[in-house]
């Protein structure tokens, strides 16, 4: 894979790739690698520093931090993928519709995009959480809503450029159906910038979800989201720094990794998309 | 090499470092500018004339890798000066009019501010009000009406011709000994160009310093300059008093340049004259006469580089045919 090779060549891309792989493999292999069950409570060993049994220490209920961290990966990455995939789907759908639809429909869709994206993402998420309530599913739904406009706009812009190209006219003249044009020609052309955007989005989703969980309005304990681990750990910060350190560390590793990887991917696919700094 | 020359350039060679290797932009250039003389530097793009102009100001680009020879201003070698000393000279004894007035002026400052700041080196003791007054007077002198309004205007609010007049005003306000005009009309329309040329002619009568006028147009040079130096690929191939050079162009390149100038008597449908071939590679400079590859009159002696040979008093050309 030529792209992977290009990513490997840049130092930051290399770091990103390694970090991302660590995180993803860690999450996938969690049931195999974890030393304990993530929700296994052991009050006697609460808030203890790293030891032979608990490699990264324990939280306030004696749960093993290493294992919770690993399982947290599944939630972080899982939510990020779910959100990105759904937002992609809805965004592309709305974007393409907006490109083909009559003006009033297009206006409405664009207006919705504008309003949603005029909110700072956290604020919007908070407003939605206030209405929907916390919980894993709700978080996925509302974070998806936050990110739909970005994908929608790009999808629409790309579709508009493609739409008028002469070869499509030719296809239509030859009797190709609308859906064939859509799937065969339009979609493949949208893929490039959208893939890049999606990959750069993943760390943002992870950060947003963890942030909401940290504030106590996202994924609630005992589910081992890094955000909720931070939430728990923060309450007991003065007694042990380890819960916070583990959760924060994993978050940083994941966001840094995915960000660097995403940037390297973008540069490898299309350096024209790069913008300083 | 006149004894009382204001500017004396001896054996100046300048290299630039590029990805492909060192570009030998100037190779042993000699030039003399006398007091109150107007010297024209003519050549096509890539001939090195702009590099020469920038070298005079010490404003060579960052990738300059080699500078040898000397540039003497009244005996002092400019190349040996420290940056602070050079800074002291710029805007006082040497001033430059740049080619493209739109990019040469700062877009977020008013004309007035820029004209005032340009004078600070020359008149460090005068206050802003005083400097603005001088600027307004000079704007009138260069043919800009309503100077007060223009002083508060921004560059993008002026037309191309006006901006160039501003640049000329800026240079004149410094009362320099040497004024360098680097293709001042290249970026302008022909009609505006004519106006600017008239302005320069007008100014030059009262201007007490020397002017170095860089251009690719022989026509302009013939109108304005006392002496001409023709440059090709980093070397001076012919130089001398304007009249002599135009009456007896001796280097084949000069002859070709003259032939290329569009003659108003040309019949429509007649082919335009061009010089076949392109500039030689300045990284891997060919030996012998630098123009030989494109010269219609080349012969076997041209594989040796010709020295400057006298055509007439003060008029030299680097060609074996002289």
């Amino acid at each position: 894979m030529d792209i992977l090779r290009r990513i490997w060549r840049s130092p930051s891309g290399r770091i990103g790739l390694i970090a991302t792989l660590l995180v993803v493999i860690g999450g996938l292999a969690a049931p195999l690698i974890a030393t304990h069950m993530p929700n296994q409570i052991d009050v006697a060993a609460r808030l203890s520093p790293p030891s032979a049994t608990h490699w990264l220490g324990t939280d306030h209920l004696g749960r093993d931090l290493f294992s919770r961290g690993l399982y947290g990966t599944r939630i972080a990455v899982g939510v990020a993928l779910a959100v990105t995939a759904t937002a992609l789907f809805i965004g592309i759908l709305l974007g393409v519709i907006a490109a083909y639809a009559p003006t009033p429909v297009e206006r409405i869709i664009l207006a919705v995009f504008d309003i949603i994206s005029s909110y700072p993402s956290l604020i919007l998420a908070l407003a939605l959480v206030a209405v929907l309530g916390p919980g894993l599913l709700n978080i996925i739904i509302l974070v998806t809503i936050v990110f739909v406009p970005q994908f929608g706009r790009i999808a629409r812009a790309q579709t508009l450029t493609i739409k008028e190209r002469p070869f499509l006219e030719a296809e239509r003249a030859l009797g190709a159906s609308g859906s064939r044009i859509m799937f065969h020609h339009v979609l493949p052309n949208i893929v490039g910038p959208i893939v890049v955007l999606a990959s750069m989005n993943i760390p943002v989703v992870i950060t947003l979800e963890a942030g909401l969980s940290f504030l106590g309005v996202g994924i609630r304990p005992p589910l081992a989201s890094w955000g909720s681990m931070l939430f728990d750990g923060f309450t007991y910060l003065e007694q042990s720094v380890w819960p916070v350190l583990v959760a924060g560390g994993m978050l940083t590793l994941a966001t840094l990794g995915f960000t660097l990887f995403g940037e390297a991917l973008r540069d490898a696919i299309d350096p024209k998309l790069r913008r300083e700094p | 090499m006149t004894e009382d020359a204001l500017v004396e350039i001896r054996n100046l060679s300048i290299d630039f470092a590029t990805g492909r290797g060192a570009v030998h932009a100037l190779r042993e250039v000699n030039l003399s500018v006398g007091r109150r003389r107007i010297v024209g530097l003519v050549g096509e793009s890539g001939s090195g004339k702009s590099t020469l102009a920038l070298a005079l100001l010490g404003l060579l680009p960052e990738n300059t890798s080699k500078v040898t020879g000397s540039i003497e201003l009244e005996g002092k070698n400019l190349l040996a000066l420290k940056p602070e000393q050079l800074e002291h000279l710029r805007g006082r004894r040497i001033a430059m009019i740049f080619q493209d007035p739109m990019t040469a002026l700062n877009p977020v400052f008013t004309i007035g501010t820029q004209l005032v700041d340009a004078q600070r080196n020359r008149h460090p003791r005068l206050g802003r009000k005083e400097l603005l007054k001088r600027a307004a007077a000079m704007l009138t002198r260069v043919g800009i009406s309503d100077p007060k309004t223009r002083l508060s205007a921004y560059p993008h609010q002026l037309s191309g011709g006006m901006r160039q007049r501003v640049m000329i005003a800026m240079a004149l306000l410094c009362e320099p000994d040497v004024l360098i005009a680097d293709e001042p009309t290249t970026a302008l329309d022909v009609t505006i160009e004519a106006q600017i040329v008239d302005l320069i002619k007008d100014i030059q009568a009262e201007f007490s310093g020397s002017i170095i006028f860089v251009s690719h147009s022989l026509g302009l040079i013939s109108e304005l300059c006392d002496e001409v130096a023709v440059m090709y690929a980093g070397k001076v191939v012919e130089s001398g008093p304007t009249r002599s050079l135009f009456e007896r162009p001796s280097h084949p390149y000069t002859q070709a340049l003259l032939a290329c100038e569009i003659d108003p008597d040309t019949e429509p449908g007649e082919r335009l004259v061009t010089i076949k071939g392109g500039l030689p590679d300045l990284v891997d400079v060919p030996s012998g006469c630098i123009f030989a590859a494109r010269c219609p009159a080349r012969f076997d002696k041209c594989s040796q580089e010709p020295a400057l040979r006298e055509v007439a008093p003060g008029h030299n050309a680097a060609c074996w045919l002289v």
Binding site: S121, A127, A130, F234, L237 | L57, E87
Partner: protein, 332 residues
């Protein structure tokens, strides 16, 4: 300042930006109001949760105008808001307006301090890195800024809190300090402001660095040098003004993120402010308070963007020429 206010164009520009701002605000309110439609089931009962006594449900319904169609609801809300009435707190019955106004100054203080810090530290660092590219500072900046930008802001804030307050004990852990005691309040402000500013410092420094480098290679800088201007004046006066323009632009967009960051910082450092207010309200499902807070936050965001647009026009005379031309997108 030359003709800044004199041209009718600027007034047109101001009017069009203002109009866009108002539209965005109205759109946001409509959006907020329509949110209650998403709730499956009876909004009043669900939003009130366990406290849903029949009287409370009824008064809530009336207050939120849940019986009215959407556009009427927006209209009513707007009317109330303009009169200063943002509803009442579901739990304590206090006026939401009072609560919000009490919390607002704290948040503004925090935000302004953070921006101030970021600008005061970021710009000089960026300048230095541009004038001395490849130096130790420049390289350190390159590495740190990537790391800091990628790390979530709340993680950085928590670590700062731990290191400086819990471990070293240099700064207090909780609160905003004694009211009336300026020094104490300042002491309480330092770490939160730094925590909020940290990511920004790196970003601004990099931005200033790259735009300064670009500006310094422009022809008009060469003209200044050709007239013997000292290098220091060239950088500080000519180049910097231009280089700061992109910085101002991102400040506008970044205010939104700043507000988000402020929420985290207020929660982490236990400071009173809009952030703490809205989080507490969400946790106990106090919807009118949430609505009021979010409205004010969005209003601040829109207002700041408006100010940024004006600052932009003030800094760059070329922009003033493009007055009145509508910019696409409302807000961000």
């Amino acid at each position: 300042m030359n003709g800044f206010w004199s041209k009718g164009g600027l007034a047109r520009y101001g009017a069009s930006r203002l109009a866009t701002a108002v539209l965005v605000l109205v759109g946001s309110i409509a959006f907020l109001c329509s949110l209650t439609l998403i709730v499956p089931g009876d909004p009043a009962r669900i939003l009130l949760g366990a406290r849903a006594t029949p009287e409370l449900v009824e008064s809530f319904r009336q207050q939120m105008g849940l019986d009215l169609p959407l556009y009427e609801r927006v209209f009513v809300f707007f009317k109330h808001a303009l009169q200063g009435d943002l509803g009442t707190d579901v739990i304590s019955g206090r006026s939401v307006t009072d609560m919000v106004l009490a919390a607002l100054p704290n948040t503004i203080l925090l935000a302004v301090s953070a921006i101030g810090l970021a600008v005061l530290i970021g710009i000089p660092i960026g300048c230095y890195a541009a004038v001395r590219p490849g130096s130790l500072l420049d390289q350190a900046l390159a590495v740190l800024s990537v790391g800091l930008v990628a790390t979530p802001s709340y993680v950085v804030a928590i670590l700062l809190l731990y290191f400086f307050s819990v471990w070293l004990g240099w700064f207090p852990v909780l609160g905003a300090g004694e009211p009336g005691n300026f020094l104490d309040q300042l002491h309480h402000l330092v770490l939160p402001a730094i925590a909020l500013a940290v990511g920004w410092i790196g970003y601004i420094a990099r931005l200033v660095r790259s735009s300064l480098l670009e500006v310094l290679s422009e022809p008009y800088i060469r003209t200044a040098r050709a007239y013997g201007q000292p290098e220091r004046r060239i950088v500080m006066k000519y180049a910097l003004k231009l280089a700061c323009i992109p910085t101002v632009a991102i400040l506008g967009v970044g205010i939104g993120e700043l507000m988000g960051g402020a929420v985290f910082v207020e929660v982490i450092f236990n400071r009173p402010g809009l952030g703490s207010l809205v989080i507490d309200a969400i946790r106990v499902r106090n919807y009118p308070v949430v609505q009021g807070c979010i409205l004010i936050i969005v209003a601040i965001f829109v207002l700041t963007n408006l100010l940024v647009d004006f600052a932009y026009a003030w800094l760059d005379p070329r922009v003033r020429e493009n007055l009145g031309r509508a910019r696409n997108g409302g807000g961000a």
